[in-house]
């Protein structure tokens, strides 16, 4: 059963169409990714899901309710905005206690949730330090847990790893994987295909406000990524492969095929030592390239 249902969402800012007829559903416990370059419409879509933006058309239904601005529904949604939504002159503990109090938490419950959030973000030892003294990665982690204090079943993470170092990024991944294991429903926006591949059960590829494809990562690669590519390097070009398919470049034989093991067998039987062998499987980058004709980072 779907926890989140988005149907024909549309949003324009002046003449610019930011979101153009986006539809998808997210099942309970699913981790759903919106993958696309900057300006694709991911954040605008998130904004309409949480009720921060009013759609020009379309509907959003969360847990059977279709008005995300209702306080009762907002209690079931946790958000980590792309911009760091922290008070820099409050400590980590004060930021958490303040945002928790806005969700009706108080007393021992609030203290317990603040302790949990600090531990989850790995900030226990820095709990009394001002947020402004934190590294970018620590601020991102704090930004994430500020949206989790009220223990929401639906969590929307808008580019939660922007501008962080690899170590902090990995810590954030592990936090999100823990939330997945805990059965939370996650909507995750990113322009990093590695993140979508690692964290998301299904991925919608967005560009220019539209969803171009939506499936599991394997399904997308299968349908849009093209065939695996075998690359083999020989000391000299073998005569037995003169009439074989593929292309030759810098002493390397490159073949796109659904059966790479047969290509490998041909190379081994060519009578020359193999200097280098690689099988490049298609990924989401290739899928995006195939769908749009340009790279994710263009």
């Amino acid at each position: 059963m779907s926890l989140l249902r988005v149907r024909d969402l549309r949003k324009t800012f002046g003449d610019r169409v930011a979101v153009d007829g986006v539809s998808f559903q997210v099942a309970r416990g699913e981790s759903f990714g919106l993958l696309g370059p900057n300006g694709a419409g991911k954040t605008t879509t998130i904004g309409m899901i949480v009720g921060a933006l009013r759609p020009d058309a379309g509907t959003v239904t969360v847990d059977g309710e279709d008005d995300p601005t209702r306080p009762s529904l907002r209690l079931r949604i946790g958000v980590a905005p792309q911009a760091l939504a922290l008070y820099q002159d409050l400590t980590a503990e004060e930021n958490l206690a303040f945002f928790g109090s806005l969700y009706g938490l108080s007393g021992a419950t609030l203290q317990e949730r603040v302790r949990w959030a600090l531990a989850f973000a790995g900030l226990e030892e820095r709990r009394r330090d001002l947020a402004r003294t934190f590294s970018g990665g620590m601020q991102r982690r704090l930004n994430l847990v500020c949206g989790l204090l009220h223990d929401p079943p639906l969590i929307l993470l808008d580019e939660p790893t922007v501008g962080v170092d690899p170590q902090s990024r990995n810590a954030i991944f592990e936090s999100i994987e823990a939330l997945k294991r805990d059965g939370r429903t996650i909507v995750y926006t990113t322009h990093y295909m590695e993140e979508a591949e690692r964290l998301c059960d299904r991925v919608a590829i967005m560009d220019h406000g539209r969803i171009l494809a939506l499936d599991t990562v394997a399904g997308l690669v299968r349908d849009h990524g093209g065939k695996p590519r075998v690359v083999i390097e020989f000391p000299e070009r073998p005569a037995t492969l003169a009439k074989a398919g593929g292309t030759w470049e810098d002493g390397q034989w490159r073949v796109e095929t659904d059966r790479p093991e047969e290509v490998l067998l041909q190379a081994v039987n060519a009578g020359q030592p193999l200097r280098h062998v690689a099988i490049d499987r298609a990924n989401l980058e290739a899928v995006f390239l195939h769908l749009t004709g340009r790279s994710l980072r263009d």
Partner: protein, 425 residues
Amino acid sequence: MKAIWALAAKDLRLLLRDRADLFWILGFPIVMALFFGSISGGGGPRAALPIAVVDQDASPMTQSIVDRLRSSEGLKVREAPLDSARNLVRRGDLVAYVLFPAGTGASFGFGGDSTQSVEIGVDPRRSAEREYLRGFVTAALFQSIQGSFGASGGGRDQVRASLDQLRENPDIAPEARERQGTMLRALESFMVALDSTRTDTATGGTDGEAAGPNIRVVEVTEDDSGPRSAYEVTFPSSIAWALIGVCMSFAVSLVQERMTGTFLRLRLAPIGRATILAGKGLACALAAAVAVTIVLCLGVFVFGVRISNPPLLAAAIGASAFCFTGVMMVVSVLGKTPPSVAGAGWGIMLLLSMTGGGMIPLVAMPAWMQAVSNYSLVRHAIVAVEGAVWRGFGWGEALPPLGILIGAGILGMAVGSRLLRTDRA
């Protein structure tokens, strides 16, 4: 309500951690009050003391004294009936009045009532001005008396008139007639000799006090109003800077929240927009009220500023804080970035302050500027506070400024919250 308090507590905590904001809210108003207070003379005597003269005698002698007082550069003299003069002193419009009761002039002559006194009515708290004024009056009295002994002063005419009266009065005993006649003729001879030898006495002085007329000082204390010192004017004026400082601090913090994403997080919480704005407004109003109270407390406990009507002062502080909370909400939407809001906001605030008495005290403004200042909210805040401090306002007199402040606050909040309802967070 818990969410509103949480929002307000957060903003106040942030404010306390920003030293620059604290300076503009507390330090700068105090500096302004002390600066203008000291250059206005603080609690000391003024350059020209405004006084009233009540001449109930209307004799040549008292007219001469009044003329001398009027010609003094240290005094600004106006004539008034006694009741009016007393009221003006009570209200603080004048430093003192000088009363010449009927018969004062005759008492300076011969055979007059030696118990008759010149009365100086003065606010007892203005001790420096009282002694300064007593010196002026004493000097004028002696100069006039001395002048009266000269040929042009009428002293010899008075002696001759007394000799005529002595000759024509049949009731005087012959021995007494002879004794008094001898004394009066000797006095006439002395005056003739004095006229021939006198030097210019116009600038002469205050000596001869031992033989001078009575000067009685009475205290006019029934009415507490009127500024006792320049600080009673400058401290209420300086609250404008406290209000402006708080207003600008919160306006900039609001636009900062919109830029950094915290405002978005607030909007995504299960609280309404009204709650968010109420929390911000409550923090702003509390900060303004506390800042104004601290500034005034300094004035009261260190610089002797008196509070004539504490409940009215509380109302004035509350209304001013409410008003500038509304102004804050309007200012916060004047730009999309902190620098643009700060620039536009300070421009407006300086204009309001300049025309409203935040820089030049209202009492020192020329008439045209006072008329312009009616359009400044700063003026109404200052007048409301002054009303409770030294103007001696009752609730009826305080109602117009309080009403304007509350009305402007409501309008500002309505306009500001309406403009804040943008589609994008």
